[in-house]
Structures are given as structure tokens and as C-alpha cells.
């Protein structure tokens, strides 16, 4: 649905996005992650045609962003960061206007607007003036705008920024529901959000690609801790050679506490560790999976260049 190749954006001497390439498959929910100022919004603005890339190719729904700009824009429902809206209009007026602007045939406008109002659950404020709405409602009016022309691709720039936990859950549920029939690309700097709704993650930092893959892969260095009443060497011997077990740290006197760094699937490894320890005749008191915090992974990915 989205193909990005060697995308670069320069503002004078400053490089906002540097040689970025990634794909988003049809039907996928892709999380676009990065610290503030990483170039997320700049990238999204190039995808949606608001900014012209300095270099590189963008293809959306098979259309070339440079030569088929209108077709590209027609394929996208875009919610910009901070959701700028006309504050002097009523919600329903605004959505009707946007639907007309997006080429929804006149007779179908009411139907489209009603559907968008319902999906974004803003039907209860449809006759209110946008300027008088709370941040959460405005955010969802922006979402309704992105949905109103029923495009195959949604690009949402920080869709949950500034919402309270309930509203965040609503937006996530909505994105999950929409993902059944649409492709979604959403930017965020909130990690649990990505885990909650995205099948795939692209991480950028200072305009450059740092990671692309599934959120689970991000965790990479997961570990297992266990506690057992046994001799340290005996425990070490039992664990050595179990598939997936990396470095082992054991400490303790009578009761040993061990921490095992796991390579690969942590769940399968935990099962193998349990069997190995039991087979060695050691009584296990506790066996626990420790997820490397995504925050740590994120920090590792996005700060490593400072030191090099």
C-alpha cells in the first residue's frame, strides 16, 4: 500500500529525513515510532503530499506521489498532528465540507458524514461549534474527517496525543476495528500503543531508519529468572546446553537465583529450562519470564549514535 524508497528531505542545511525506505502492506497496521523531532511528521507530510521530498520515491496504492498526486491524496485519509480544524464551523458542517472537498458525490455526502460521525463516536456533538469542543472531541472530529471519504489508507499522526486513558482506549479500539478493512499507518512516541495495536513497527531517529519488524522482535533480549534450592554448579551444568540459553548468572548460597539471557523464543526456552532443571533433579521454586522493557530497547536504538 505504501512504498517508500530513499526518501530524503532537506531544509537548507538541515536534514530532516535521510534515505528512508520502508513498505506498508495492504491491510497492515504499521506503527511509526521515534522520539520527538525524529522526522515522523515530516515523513507523513511527504506521504500525504503536503511537502515535496528533496529526493526519493513514494508510491501509495500503486500511484506515484509526484506524478499522480490527486490519486494519491484520494487514497489517503490523513489526520495531521495537533488536528487543525476550522473552529468557527459546526462539526457536521465541517464534515460535509470535507466530504465535498474530497469528492464524495453530493447525494452521498449525508450518508458518508453520518457513518464517519458514528465511527469516530462524535454523533452527540455534531451540531456543536468545533471551537467549543474539548481536545478529545476535536481529535475524534479529525478522525471522522480522515474517515469521511472512506479511503483505503489511513495516516494518523499521533492519534492519541492529548487524550485521557478512556479516550485512548476508544481510539485504539477504533483503529483495531478499522484495520479489518483498511491499511493504517500511525505515528506515535508511546511504545505500549504500538504493542497494543500494530502488527509492524518502523522506528526512525534523527531522520534515519533504526528498526523495522514486528513489535515482539523488538524485545529481542528477553530473559528468564529462576530460583531453586540447589548447588550453584549443578544448576549451571543443568542449564548449559539448553537450546536458546545464553549467558547465565547465578548467585546465592543455599538457594540459587539465576538469570538466563534468552536467544530466540522466550516461551519455548522457558519450557525447555523447566524440563532440564527437573531432569537434573533440582527442585524449582520459581520460573519467570522477564521482558526487556520496550523503553530500554527504544532508548538503545535511538541513542546509540550519540556515543559512536
Amino acid at each position: 500500500m505504501i512504498e517508500v524508497r530513499h526518501l530524503t528531505k532537506r531544509y537548507g542545511d538541515r536534514v530532516a529525513v535521510r534515505d528512508l525506505s520502508f513498505d506498508v502492506a495492504r491491510g497492515e497496521v504499521m506503527g511509526f515510532l521515534g522520539p520527538n523531532g525524529a522526522g515522523k511528521s515530516t515523513t507523513l507530510r511527504m506521504l500525504t503530499g503536503f511537502l515535496e521530498p528533496t529526493e526519493g520515491e513514494i508510491k501509495i496504492a500503486g500511484f506515484d506521489a509526484r506524478r499522480q498526486a490527486l490519486e494519491v491524496k484520494r487514497s489517503i485519509g490523513y489526520m495531521p498532528e495537533a488536528v487543525p480544524l476550522y473552529l468557527d464551523m459546526r462539526v457536521v458542517e465541517y464534515l460535509r465540507y470535507r466530504a465535498a472537498l474530497k469528492g464524495v458525490p453530493r447525494r452521498e455526502i449525508d450518508k458518508h458524514v453520518d457513518r464517519a460521525l458514528e465511527l469516530a463516536s462524535v454523533g452527540d456533538v455534531k451540531t456543536r461549534i468545533i471551537g467549543q469542543l474539548s481536545k478529545g472531541y476535536r481529535q475524534r472530529v479529525g478522525l471522522a474527517d480522515a474517515l469521511v471519504a472512506d479511503p483505503p489508507l489511513l495516516i494518523l499522526d499521533e492519534p492519541t496525543a492529548g487524550l485521557d486513558p478512556n479516550q485512548i482506549r476508544q481510539v485504539r479500539d477504533l483503529v483495531r476495528a478499522l484495520a479489518k478493512e483498511k491499511t493504517v499507518m500511525l505515528s506515535t512516541h508511546i511504545l505500549p500503543e504500538v504493542e497494543a495495536i500494530c502488527a509492524r513497527v518502523v522506528i526512525i531517529d534523527r531522520g534515519q531508519l533504526k528498526f523495522t519488524g514486528r513489535p515482539e522482535e523488538l524485545r529481542g533480549g528477553s530473559a528468564i529468572t529462576l530460583e531453586a534450592r540447589a548447588d550453584g554448579d549443578k544448576l549451571r551444568a543443568a542449564l548449559a546446553g539448553v537450546e536458546g540459553v545464553g549467558t547465565i548468572a547465578v548467585k546465592g548460597a543455599d538457594v540459587q537465583q539465576a538469570r538466563i539471557e534468552v536467544n530466540g523464543d522466550v516461551h519455548a526456552c522457558a519450557e525447555r529450562v523447566f524440563r532440564a532443571v527437573a531432569n537434573a533433579g533440582i527442585d524449582l521454586r520459581e520460573l519467570r519470564r522477564v521482558d526487556a522493557s520496550l523503553e530500554d530497547v527504544f532508548a538503545r536504538l535511538t541513542t546509540q549514535e550519540v556515543h559512536s
Binding site: Y11, R45, T48, G49, F50, L51, E52, A69, L70, E71, K73, R74, I76, Y78, P80, A82, P84, L85, Y86, L87, D88, M89, Y97, R98, A100, L101, K102, G103, D145
Partner: protein, 247 residues
């Protein structure tokens, strides 16, 4: 087609803001006063009526009559694009499946329509005058054509400045300076020693412009000037909006 959708919203938003009403009221009071005074002058001096009437004097007699427009035109056009950029609504606007040209034409159309709305109530004076004497309908129509011509380039200049300026105030000031500049050049026509430059000055002069039209003389040179300047500045607005994507 999309330009019409934009123009419609723009007109609606004019009437949602108090600015439109303030401008309209002040303008109509000013016009009413002007017409009242002119009617008084003509009523007390019947001999004047041979060569002119309150209507021709209203449209072309006094160039000072146009001074409020030098302020109102910038006020009408300053928000067109500068506000969209300032509040960020330019982003949803330009990421909709429309071209920058649609946006520029839509906004220009809306400004022109408002300009026409500003002048529509003056039709009342035509009706009043017609109740007390004969009016030259051709001259009246020509006067309105002249007024429309002025609107063509006043609104275009305002639109272009709104596209270029960082905020509304700067846009209004730039428009005011440009319009005042053109207005002042026109006034140079009153300086006798500049006879050689007279042809060019007359071309630009609002006074000369409205003098001709108010007498019923449709001088196409003035219309060519109006349309040319308008086209130039609408093009400038379009380029400013389109080039923004590079920065």
C-alpha cells in the same frame, strides 16, 4: 468545481466573523453620507445637473471616496490564506484531493463575491435618484463595471499578500502599502509638470478610471489594466502556495 466548494466555505466564514459586518456597516455609512452630501449639493445648485448628477459624482467625482477601500480591501483579504497557514488548517486543506490552484481560485472567488456584496446596497442610490429624475442606466452599469474592475485587482493583490505573509497583520499591511502606492501614483496625475508620464499615470489612476466609467465610457484600456494586474497577483498567490511544499 472544488474551487466552488472552497469559495462557499470562505463566504460562510466571512459571515461567521464580525469583521464582515463591521466593514459592511462602516462602508455603507460612509457611502450613505457621501451620497447624502452629493444629493444636497446637486439639489441646491440645479445648474450643475446639466453635466453631471449625484450618481456620476458618487462613482467618479471624488477620488477621496475610495480611501476607505484602501483599508477595507486588506481587511477583507488578509485572512484568506495567512489564517489557514497560521492555524495549520492549510495542511488538511492541501492534503485533500485538490490542487493549490483550486484553493487560490476558490479564495479569490470568495473575496470577489464579498466585494460585490459590499457594493450591492449602493444600488439603492440608483433607485432613489431614479425617483427624482432621469438616470443614465448605461452610465450606471458602466460605473459598476468599473467598480468590479477595481475589485478584480484589489482582491488579487490582497490574496497574493495573504499567500506570502507569515500572518494576517503583515498581509494586511503589505496589501495596504501596495494599494496606497498605486493610489498615490494615480494622484500624480494632478501634478502638471508630469505631462509626459501622464499616459501611464492615467492608466493606473483610480480617479481617471472611475471618471471614465461613471460617464458611461467603457475604456477597455482600464479593464486590460485591471485584468492584467489581477492575473499577475493571482498567479503570484498560486506560486507562493505551490512553492511552500518545497520548504
Amino acid at each position: 468545481m472544488k474551487a466552488l466548494v472552497i469559495a462557499r466555505r470562505e463566504i460562510e466564514s466571512y459571515f461567521l466573523s464580525p469583521v464582515a459586518y463591521v466593514v459592511t456597516v462602516v462602508w455603507l455609512v460612509w457611502c450613505g453620507l457621501q451620497f447624502y452630501l452629493l444629493a444636497g449639493v446637486f439639489a441646491s445648485a440645479p445648474s450643475l445637473s446639466a453635466s453631471a448628477n449625484p450618481l456620476s459624482a458618487f462613482f467618479g467625482g471624488s477620488v477621496l471616496f475610495f480611501i476607505p477601500l484602501l483599508v477595507f480591501a486588506p481587511v477583507l483579504t488578509m485572512r484568506l490564506l495567512a489564517e489557514e497557514r497560521h492555524t495549520g488548517t492549510l495542511e488538511p486543506l492541501l492534503t485533500a484531493p485538490i490542487t493549490p490552484a483550486d484553493v487560490v481560485f476558490g479564495k479569490y472567488l470568495a473575496a470577489l463575491l464579498f466585494w460585490v456584496c459590499l457594493w450591492l446596497p449602493t444600488g439603492m442610490y440608483v433607485w432613489i435618484t431614479s425617483q427624482f429624475g432621469r438616470i443614465d442606466l448605461g452610465a450606471v452599469l458602466a460605473s459598476y463595471l468599473g467598480v468590479f474592475g477595481i475589485g478584480l485587482y484589489y482582491m488579487a493583490i490582497g490574496l497574493a499578500m495573504s499567500a506570502l505573509a507569515k500572518n494576517q497583520i503583515v498581509a494586511a499591511l503589505l496589501t495596504f502599502m501596495l494599494l496606497s502606492g498605486l493610489f498615490a501614483v494615480g494622484l500624480l496625475g494632478f501634478v502638471d509638470t508630469l505631462s509626459e508620464q501622464r499616459d501611464v499615470i492615467d492608466y493606473i489612476s483610480l480617479w481617471g478610471h472611475m471618471q471614465a466609467f461613471s460617464k458611461g465610457i467603457v475604456d477597455t484600456r482600464f479593464l486590460v489594466f485591471d485584468v492584467t494586474v489581477a492575473g499577475l497577483f493571482v498567479y503570484l498567490a498560486w506560486r507562493a502556495l505551490d512553492d511552500r511544499r518545497q520548504s
